[in-house]
């Protein structure tokens, strides 16, 4: 971070303090694991698609599904409407499949997994042991001692390394495994639901994902079951020039409940890397799904070198009456983000919520938001988006609220606020509002401002340094969203908010 260069540190500042600040202000997860990998040949063609399918030991219907997607992808054009700018991606210069050599024969249990892989996750603070994980992943020493359980599916480049607590979840009837496993073990569910929310040809990146997705998580919660623990997937991109294309499918059957967490990191590299995921959620009658993301992919350096291109399609279908889906996201990483977690409110009385904090610093660009499509009667949606822009970053909220003629008595409330730190960055709001009946109410509010001088002065007068004061004000600005996060993420997110803005002051 520029503000922490040696040359700029004032005399008399304790060297240890400088070191400590420098330590936290750099991307913490930028290291890579030196492990022997097996790659598919470079580039993309039908043979690569077939190879991925073969590696995952998929049935023929799945291979055909992928090939159909690949053919559709060839006809599609990369979208250019987002307010992001990046060099053209050469899709033939990517590896579409990379797995650790040691995963060639799938380990039967976590004990058989290569210790190097386990170490990787340990280092990321995600131990793949079936142990109690303390609430508040880091920095929560004061958390109650009994802790909570979180089941983790760990995805390393193209493959799932392992899933914890499977046995205990099975007792409750919950299926939580990698999608490759689900294709083999539960083909009837996968066949029924895969692509039913995000159709194969939905958009350029979703179509690409449909063709080449290598792994991801699969969740099925049977009717009436409240999932006994939080489920979590941790994505790690490790290999160079490798795209990660994961696919997540969550099915919450009638009257069920699940809270799902997603985290992601990648090593620091000079070359930009591609990540194009698809998440599909199906909520049947009375079901409730909470999906929380802390996205912390490598953002590139301060000059915009390297970083992850995060082109993600996330959509929930509230099919059943009274179903509810809540998206919460904290977006701090990636050099380019293109992501719109959406809800199709099909069932009567269904509800969709979207809480987002998007922080961009240095040369990062984020174009993110949501779509709330009201089809059923008495449907409700709520959007709270907080965008923070610093450095030379561009941050855009883009959203759609659509009230169809049949969505009588529906409600939407949208609030999107932007905060600018410094005069070289940009913050933009692009909402689309389509109201086609009069019994529904739609309200949209947006503001853009800078960090309030009076608030800063108040903090400074009480002895905080400027960065601390900004972090506190920003945390206050984000409070609505931070409160919607599960405990596990709230602490981490608060720290991320502070770290992402280090060096943006002055």
């Amino acid at each position: 971070m520029a503000a922490l260069d040696d040359s700029q540190v004032k005399d008399g500042v304790d060297q240890q303090t400088v070191e400590a600040v420098r330590d936290v202000s750099t991307y913490k997860h930028g290291w890579n694991t030196d492990i022997e990998m097996e790659y598919a040949p470079l580039g993309l063609n039908e043979d690569i698609v077939k190879l991925i399918s073969e590696k995952n030991e998929e049935p023929e219907w799945m291979t055909d599904w992928r090939l159909a997607a690949y053919r559709r992808w060839l006809e599609k054009k990369e979208p250019d409407w987002a307010m992001v700018d990046y060099p053209e991606i050469n899709f033939q210069e990517q590896y579409y499949y990379a797995r650790p050599k040691s995963m060639e024969v799938k380990p039967k249990s976590l004990d058989e997994v290569d210790p190097k892989l386990l170490e990787t996750y340990e280092k990321l603070g995600i131990p793949l042991k079936e142990q109690m994980i303390l609430a508040g992943v880091e920095g929560a020493e004061d958390a109650p001692a009994e802790g909570r359980k979180v089941a983790v599916d760990a995805v390393f480049d193209s493959v799932s390394v392992g899933t914890t607590f499977q046995a205990e979840l099975k007792k409750a009837g919950v299926i939580f495994c990698s999608i490759s496993e689900a294709i083999k073990e539960h083909p009837e569910l996968v066949k029924k639901y895969l692509g039913s929310v995000v159709p194969v040809s939905d958009n350029f990146y979703a179509t690409l994902n449909s063709a080449v997705f290598s792994d991801g998580s699969f969740v099925y919660i049977p009717p009436g079951v409240r999932c006994p623990m939080e489920l979590s997937t941790y994505f790690r991109i490790n290999a160079e020039n490798t795209g990660q294309f994961e696919r997540t499918l969550i099915i919450a059957d009638k009257g069920s409940y699940v809270s799902y967490l997603e985290g992601c990191t990648a090593p620091q590299r000079d070359e930009a890397q591609l990540h194009a995921a698809v998440v599909e959620i199906i909520a049947e009658e009375d079901a409730e799904v909470k999906y929380s993301t802390v996205q912390n992919w490598y953002p590139g350096d301060e000059n915009g070198k390297g970083g992850i291109y995060n082109f993600v399609t996330k959509r929930a279908d509230c099919r059943g009456d009274r179903s509810k889906v809540m998206w919460t996201q904290v977006e701090t990483g990636s050099s380019v983000t293109w992501k719109y977690p959406s809800c199709i409110l099909r069932g009567d009385d269904s509800q969709g919520e979207f809480y987002s904090i998007a922080i961009t610093n240095n040369m990062q660009q984020a174009d993110t938001g949501t779509k709330m499509i009201h089809l059923g009667k008495n449907t409700k949606s709520r959007i709270v988006s907080k965008g923070i822009s610093a450095g030379r970053a561009q941050n855009t909220y883009r959203g759609l609220v659509s009230m169809h003629p049949k969505a009588k008595n529906s409600r939407n409330y949208t609030q999107c606020d932007s905060l600018l730190i410094g005069d070289k960055c940009g913050a933009h709001t692009v909402p689309y509002i389509e109201v086609k009946n009069n019994s529904s109410r739609v309200e949209h509010e947006a503001t853009t401002s800078k960090v309030d001088d009076e608030q800063l002065f108040y903090c400074r007068a009480r002895g905080m340094d400027e960065e601390e004061a900004v972090a506190l004000v920003v945390n206050g600005f984000c409070r609505d969203v931070l409160q919607a996060l599960p405990m596990e993420f709230a602490m981490e997110a608060q720290q991320l908010v502070a770290i992402s803005l280090e060096g943006s002051v002055g």
Partner: protein
């Protein structure tokens, strides 16, 4: 990027059906330039981002649609209570008989079709220029078409404080009229003008108003559109504001199957002020679209957008507004509100209120709401003996009043409120 075939063909077909006016030697270069710009950008298509809510077909096609005439002779003359200089166009053609003498202290008025005998004219530096500047980042091809083909228009040069308003009256007499007018207004330093526009124009009407408002100058603009329901109208205002200048514009739209009002305002001098407002009401196949872009490119400028729409029986209201704050435009104060009152279940409101901000010390906000009449307020009035129809009208007027209040002149404001009440009364029968 090469233009898609549909666009290319539509543009060629439209141009082939028209002939460039030969008048205005000094405007020839601008007109020819506009033709070549138009060929490269193409006429609007419904797949264009800023036409997704409004189908441009009738505005684009070579043959203009027909529009029946309405008898509005029993209505009092618009702005009749104000002492003003009247200039009348019938189906886009200047009518000297009905117009006043084009002489006003501190103002010179020429007609585009007559100002062309020499290659010199003050408007040469502006004609088509502000229109061209307004083409980025979003193309406005109908305005370019107008620059190329406009048959007439007024060139108004204001050097002092105009003693009374100019009133442009548009009359619609032929069911097949297809007109284009292009006005240029230049306000010198500290000059002042009030411009009034009213009338049902022509069966198809495309207008451009380019205005340069110099330092300290003020332009008030109040217009009323509609009444001849079947007319298809596209209007464009391109304004460039200097230091401490002010531009205030209000538009009342009543009826009309197709009205697209585009405004492109550039605040280029520090401390300039731009307020634009609109009240629209319509029913049935009414379609009204306000597309407003305000660019802040100087410090401490203030902009305000207030748009209200009352819609019923399947009417459609569209609002696309943007506040763009360029780097360095610090201390900007930008405000934008768009609201729709849907009086029944078939009407729709489509909105895209945007902010694009590249400066940090700014306060910008926008709001957009849509909904039915407030049941509690309605109940309150009914409980006090107000009949349902009247109570609805009262609440409707109260809803529109916030936009009408943007008109500063009391007489003009009262006139507009009268029209609103008249419109509602006619609907109530």
């Amino acid at each position: 990027m090469a233009l898609p075939d549909v666009k290319q063909n539509a543009t060629q077909a439209r141009l082939a059906a028209m002939e460039m006016p030969q008048s205005g030697v000094w405007a020839k270069a601008a007109r020819e330039d506009a033709v070549s710009r138009l060929i490269s950008m193409g006429l609007p298509h419904r797949r264009d981002e800023y036409w997704k809510f409004t189908r441009p077909d009738t505005l684009v096609q070579p043959e203009g649609p027909q529009a029946a005439l309405y008898d509005t002779s029993d209505e009092p003359e618009m702005f009749g209570a104000v002492d003003r200089l009247k200039i009348v166009f019938v189906d886009g053609v200047f009518d000297a008989e009905q117009s006043d003498d084009l002489a006003l202290e501190g103002v010179t008025i020429d007609r585009l079709s007559e100002a062309g005998r020499a290659d010199i004219h003050w408007a040469k530096d502006l004609y088509g220029l502000l229109e061209q500047r307004g083409q980025t980042p979003v193309a406005r091809p109908l305005a370019t078409l107008n620059t190329a083909m406009a048959g007439d228009g007024l060139l108004i040069h204001v050097t002092g404080k105009a003693p009374k308003p100019l009133h442009l009256i548009y009359q619609h007499r032929a069911t097949t009229s297809d007109a284009m007018l292009h006005h240029v207004i230049k306000l010198e330093k500290d000059a002042e003008l009030t411009l009034l526009e009213s009338g049902p124009v022509a069966a198809r009407f495309n207008t451009v108003l380019e205005t340069e408002i110099a330092d300290g100058a003020t332009l008030h603009h109040v217009r009323k559109q509609g009444r001849h329901h079947e007319c298809h109208v596209a209007t464009h205002v391109f304004a460039r504001l200097g230091e401490e200048s002010s531009f205030k514009s209000f538009t009342l739209t009543a009826n009309g199957v197709m009205t697209r009002n585009e405004m492109v305002i550039e605040l280029t001098g520090d401390d300039a002020i731009a307020h634009v407002a609109g009240a629209a009401m319509g029913d049935g196949d009414f379609h009204q679209d306000d597309t407003v872009f305000i660019t802040h490119d100087a410090e401490r400028c203030e902009s305000r957008q207030v748009f209200k729409k009352v819609l019923r029986n399947g009417a459609t209201g569209v609002f696309q507004g943007k506040i763009l704050v360029e780097p360095g435009a610090q201390k900007t104060d930008g405000y934008q509100i768009s609201q729709a009152l849907l009086l029944d279940g078939d009407s729709q409101f489509l909105a895209k209120p945007e902010l694009e901000i590249y400066a940090d010390d700014v306060a910008c906000s926008h709001g957009s709401t849509s909904g039915a009449i407030d049941e509690d307020a309605l109940f309150y009035l009914r409980a006090r003996g107000v009949p349902h129809g009247l109570a609805t009208d009262l609440l409707t007027i109260a809803f529109l009043a916030e936009a009408v209040d943007e008109v500063e002149d009391e007489i003009l404001r009262a006139d507009i409120l009268d029209r609103l009440e008249g419109w509602l009364a006619r609907r109530r029968g």
